[in-house]
Every structure is written in C-alpha cells, then in structure tokens.
C-alpha cells in the first residue's frame, strides 16, 4: 500500500512521517521546510506500507515552486490513498484542498494535528460532524504522538483489508463542526516588532556562541574532557598495549596518523551538536519564521527576501542541505544570489576548524574570534548578495507574501532526533572521510617520491612536503611561509574538518604565525571553496556550469578576502 502525506505547508506532515516510519527527516516550524519528496516503508500488524512525504501545497489548481513536486506526484503517480495533515485551527481553510484531493478518486484520511493545544486555547472540533460534513475519516491528535499515529494506522489497516473509508462527494454544509477559540493579542505578536525581534535575534546568537565556544561554557568543558579522555587515557593505554606487537610503520600510521587526525576533529563533537541544538531550537520555536517577516524589507535591500532567510539559516547546519531548501524560493534571481552566498554562511563542518585554529592561535580570546566569524556569517552573505545584485545577477526582488509560523515551545522528541542525526552524521564523516584523509596525509608525509620510508626528521623530502611547497606561494601574501597550511587547505576541499586533522597531524598548531596571518588564514578557511559534498549539491540543483562558477568564485573570493584582511590588519 502506498500512501502520500499531503497538507498545507508547516502542518506537521514530516513530523507525522517521522513518527510513523521512525525516520529523522528534517522538520522545522517554518513554511516550506520540505521541498523534495521523501519516501520510507514501515510495517504495522504484519503489513508493509509505503509512505511518501510531500512538500506542502495550498491548491492543486495553481502550484508554484516546491508545490509542483506535490502536484506532479498526486496527479501522475500510482498510490492507494492520501493522509491529509492539517493544523487544528486551520481546518476550515483546508476544506478546499480536501475536496480537490477527493476529486482524484483516492481514499483520503484527514489527520488533525495539534488538537490538544487547540482545545486548551478554547477551540472545539465536533469529530462526528466533521466526518459527516467532509465525508472522510478524521483522526484528531498530535503528529509527534505515537498514540495518534496508532489511531491513523488502524484506519489505514481497515482500508487495506478492503473496508471502505468514508469518501463520498456530498457535503452537508449545514453541519457546523468547527468552533474556533477567540483570537487574542498574543505574546508571539511582540516578536513582529523590530525593536523586539532584532535584540532577541542578537541576544540569542550571542548566547548560542557563548554556550558552544565560551571558555567556561559547559560545552567547552565537555570538549576538553573528551580531548583529555582520548589523549591521556585511551590513546596511551592502546599505545602501551600494541607498541611492541606491531611494526613501527603500522604504529605510526595508526597512532600518529589516523588517531591523531580523527581525535583532533572528534573532540569538537560537543560544539557541533550544541550549535545544531541551539539553531534547531530557534527554528522549531518559530522565531526565525517571525523574524523573516520583520527582516524582509531589510533583506530586500540586499537583493534577498524574507523567504531567503530559511535557506541562510539552514546554511549554519550544512551547505549541501541548505542548497536543497533554496528550491522553496520562487524567484530565480534570489535563488541564485542565495546559493552563491551560502558558502560564506559557516556550516557545522567549519566549527571544528574555527575552534581548532582559534584555540591554538588565540588561547583565551578564541571565543571572541569565533563569535566574530559567526557574525560575519550573518553580515557577509548580505554584502555578497548586494554585490551580485549590482553586478552578475541584476534585478529587483519579488513581492513577499507568505504565511508565518506560530511560536511555540519546541517539542523535546524532534529536537533530540535532530541532535542525534547531527551527531551520527558527524561521527560517520569523521570515521570515513577524516579517517581516510588522515591516513593518506600520514603516508604521504612518511614516504618520498622514490618510495623510500622517511623518519620524522626527513619530512622535508616527503611527497606531501614537496606538493605543499608548490602551493605554499598562495599563502605568502598573508605572511604564511609554512607549506603545512597549504596542504590543510587542499584536504579541506574534501571535508572542511580535514583542515583540522591535517594541521594537527603536521603539528601546524604550534608553528609561529603573526596575529595578522592567523586571522587571515581563519578568514580564508571561512570563505574558500565549499567541500565536494556541497559542490555536488550545487551540480544537482543548478547544473555543472553553476557549480564550477561557484567553486572558482569562492576560491578567488577566499584568497581575496584573506589578502584584504591581512592588508587591513597591517595598516
């Protein structure tokens, strides 16, 4: 049995999808989070169901941007039924779409999400009258609640064994089933005032950065504890156990190469998770959605719109994912400006890079340096978009008309799921790309071009050193003469965390650098070409040509910004 989950944007479709399938697809309290269809199977009472989560749609008649994915699926694909998800207080507005769906001659089950809160606010839905009025099966519940999902499954089960679902076409309009609560001036309306929204935004960002990177923040202390646990205990213990058992080459590869590289990145797991948690909290609270309305006019001056804010916020997680969310923007010019600005929104992969470089180079002042970089991640994409608007991607922005999300305290489960997803993805990346690149870097630094094994004192004759020296001239203008930094930048093209593992492995953290050079190198790491995963996403969304443009644009951009920083700091 194949079922499509359909509904207005931000109705809770993906949350229900996750509850039913056990998956952890991205959710957010924002309109247009899901822009592509997602598919998964689940079993219930021995029967396998195939569930397809579709982007939100308001009407089948006039679809735009991501709505076309849903329209196309519903009209052209084979499926047995539709699970229609609707927010309790918006049931009346959804009637039109329910009738459109019924005309497709598919079974429709309506899932009314957020009913508990609706009741608490003083609203009421007469369940029986609603079923009679709309001639569909109705389930009242909460998308993240397993009991609600269980009720839905029971109905789907009845359907699958051939019992009919109420699905007639007659509507008895005399039957009023919806009794809404009175609209009050709500606390959340305060966040639509720029004098409230802007300070709250700045304060939440400052708190986030302190929480993740502050010297005495709990997260920094956990990070230090993890680092000590590995360095002072696990590695020493393992090293003691196998030192005399394995060959010196293998020992070097495992302990000086793989372990050193992997652990140098892994110790930043708490920071990556904490940053993701804070951003997800703000996202799921609906604050960003409200802020996008306040910021629309300001953003339009830079060639963006309030809708672009979602993609930019996603960029703090992963550039590749953020590029997919760009599909939710209907204006093609804004879409391209956002895409070309995303590489300078600091993704979570860059977090270990800043933390490692700032900690190693600035000690106690690391928090200030990292905060400055993250605030640049908010300001510079706007500057870049303005530059693109005036040069390569000219044109005014479209008029902003959009629904905005209600603010709420984020549910614990989805937050925990997304945290778990971030941690697993980070660990997988460290266990694959970083592990392989650390091993490769160590092998290349340990052998010469005539394949002679070298000792640590002979590193100047290694393959890695000779390759690095060929590229080192690019960093001479910022006062860096050491080849190690050039190698780190190259490895960073595969995964940004590779900069950390490589520099740690080559001992670059202890190399003497001037204050200006340190800052300029951090700026370079912040701005240069995104990793191969992000470039792959560019290719998928915009084609090879645009991907190459982006890669070259930010390679040149990264160097120019770092040169400019060095120049300004030397004035």
């Amino acid at each position: 049995m194949i079922y499509a989950i359909v509904g207005h944007p931000n109705a809770g479709k993906t949350t229900l999808f996750n509850t039913l399938t056990g998956k952890s697809a991205t959710v957010g309290n924002w309109h247009g989070v899901t822009v592509e269809k997602e598919q998964s199977t689940f079993s219930y009472n021995g029967q396998t169901h195939n569930l397809i989560d579709l982007p939100g749609i308001y009407s089948l008649a006039c679809a735009c941007s991501e709505e076309r994915v849903t329209q196309d699926f519903l009209i052209n694909n084979d499926y047995q039924g539709v699970i229609f998800v609707v927010e309790a207080k918006k049931v009346k507005r959804a009637e039109k779409l329910i009738f459109e769906l019924k005309k497709l001659n598919k079974k429709v089950v309506v899932f009314v999400n957020g009913y508990d809160q609706f009741k608490k606010d003083g609203g009421k839905i007469d369940f029986n009258k609603m079923q009679t009025s709309l001639q569909v099966e109705v389930v009242l519940g909460n998308a993240f609640d397993k009991n609600s999902a269980f009720k839905l499954l029971q109905i789907l089960q009845l359907h699958s064994i051939g019992l009919p679902i109420k699905n007639g076409n007659e509507t008895n309009k005399d039957e009023e089933y919806f009794f809404p609560p009175k609209r009050k001036i709500k606390f959340q309306d305060l966040f639509l005032n720029k004098f409230v929204a802007l300070p709250v935004f700045v304060a939440s960002m400052v708190f986030t950065f302190w929480f993740c990177f502050g010297k005495f923040s709990p997260i920094s202390l956990i990070s230090v504890a993890i680092s000590r646990l590995f360095d002072d205990f696990i590695i020493k213990l393992l090293s003691f156990a196998v030192k005399d058992v394995i060959s010196p080459f293998l020992y070097g590869l495992i302990f000086d190469g793989i372990f050193k590289g992997v652990i140098s990145v892994l110790e930043f797991l708490p920071q990556v998770c904490a940053l993701s948690l804070c951003m997800n909290f703000l996202n799921q609270s609906g604050f960003f959605s409200r802020f996008s309305a306040v910021a629309d006019d300001f953003l339009s001056k830079f060639g963006l719109s309030g809708r672009a804010l979602y993609a930019l916020v996603c960029g703090f997680g992963c550039t590749a994912v953020a590029l997919t969310s760009v599909n939710g923007i209907s204006d093609e010019k804004i879409k391209r400006r956002v895409a070309l600005s995303l590489p300078i929104v600091s993704c979570s992969a860059k977090t270990p890079v800043y933390a490692f470089l700032a900690k190693g180079l600035f000690g106690n002042r690391a928090f200030l340096v990292i905060s400055a970089i993250y605030f640049s991640s908010i300001v510079l994409p706007l500057v870049n978009s303005y530059f693109l608007k005036k040069t390569f991607i000219k044109g005014e922005t479209e008029n902003y008309v959009s629904e905005i999300a209600d603010m709420r305290i984020p549910a614990f489960k989805p937050l925990l799921k997304s945290l778990q997803k971030t941690a697993i993805q980070f660990i997988i990346k460290v266990g694959t790309v970083i592990l392989i690149s650390s091993a490769l870097v160590w092998i290349l630094k340990s052998i010469s071009f005539d394949f002679k094994l070298l000792s640590n004192d002979e590193i100047e004759n290694s393959m890695l050193c000779l390759i690095g020296k060929r590229l080192a001239f690019l960093f001479h203008p910022i006062g860096i003469l050491n080849w190690e930094y050039a190698v780190g930048a190259v490895v960073g093209l595969f995964a940004k965390e590779g900069v950390v593992s490589t520099l740690s492995l080559l001992g670059a953290g202890v190399l003497p650098l001037s204050f200006q050079s340190k800052i300029a190198f951090i700026v370079f790491c912040y701005a240069y070409t995104p990793c191969v995963t992000a470039l792959g996403s560019f290719k998928r969304e915009f084609g090879v040509k645009f991907m190459l443009i982006c890669a070259i644009y930010w390679l040149i951009g990264g160097f120019l910004l770092s040169y400019l920083t060095y120049f300004i700091l030397n004035l």
């Binding site: 918006k90 507005r93 001036i185 309306d189 006019d297 300001f298 008029n399 008309v401 959009s402 629904e403």
Partner: protein
C-alpha cells in the same frame, strides 16, 4: 482605504485587490480574496503588514499591501 494604512488590531473586509496576477494567486491560496475578512495584526518596517486570516498569520510586503483596498468592519 489601503491595507497598509489600516489600524492594528481591527477587523477589515477586503474590497479590491489590484496586485499583479502572480501576487493575486499567492494571496488567494492563503485565503485573501475579495469580500474576505481579515485582521491587521502588526505593521512591519518598510510598509509591510502582518494580517490574520482564518487563524493564519500572513506577511504581506509593502508593494502588495498598498494594492489591497479594505473597509473597516
């Protein structure tokens, strides 16, 4: 009067929408059309407004808000 000049917290009836077809469709999908009631929730910087229609909060940019004619209820 035009929507951007309306009073915060008051209910209005939409009399006319003279925006372009693309914006009209967007508004229609969100439940904003002729003879529909709405409430002005807030005004935002730059001339845009936040309205409430059938329990949904909708942001309407300045250019569109100026093209919606409303009457106080």
């Amino acid at each position: 009067m035009i929507l951007s000049k309306a009073e915060i917290g008051k209910d209005y009836l939409v009399l006319k929408i003279s925006a372009n077809q693309k914006d009209k469709i967007k508004l229609y999908k969100l439940g904003v059309f002729k003879m529909q009631t709405l409430r002005l929730v807030n005004k935002i910087a730059g001339g845009g407004v936040i309205i409430s229609v059938k329990f949904s909060d909708i942001v309407v940019g300045k250019n569109v808000a100026e093209k919606i004619t409303v009457e106080k209820l």
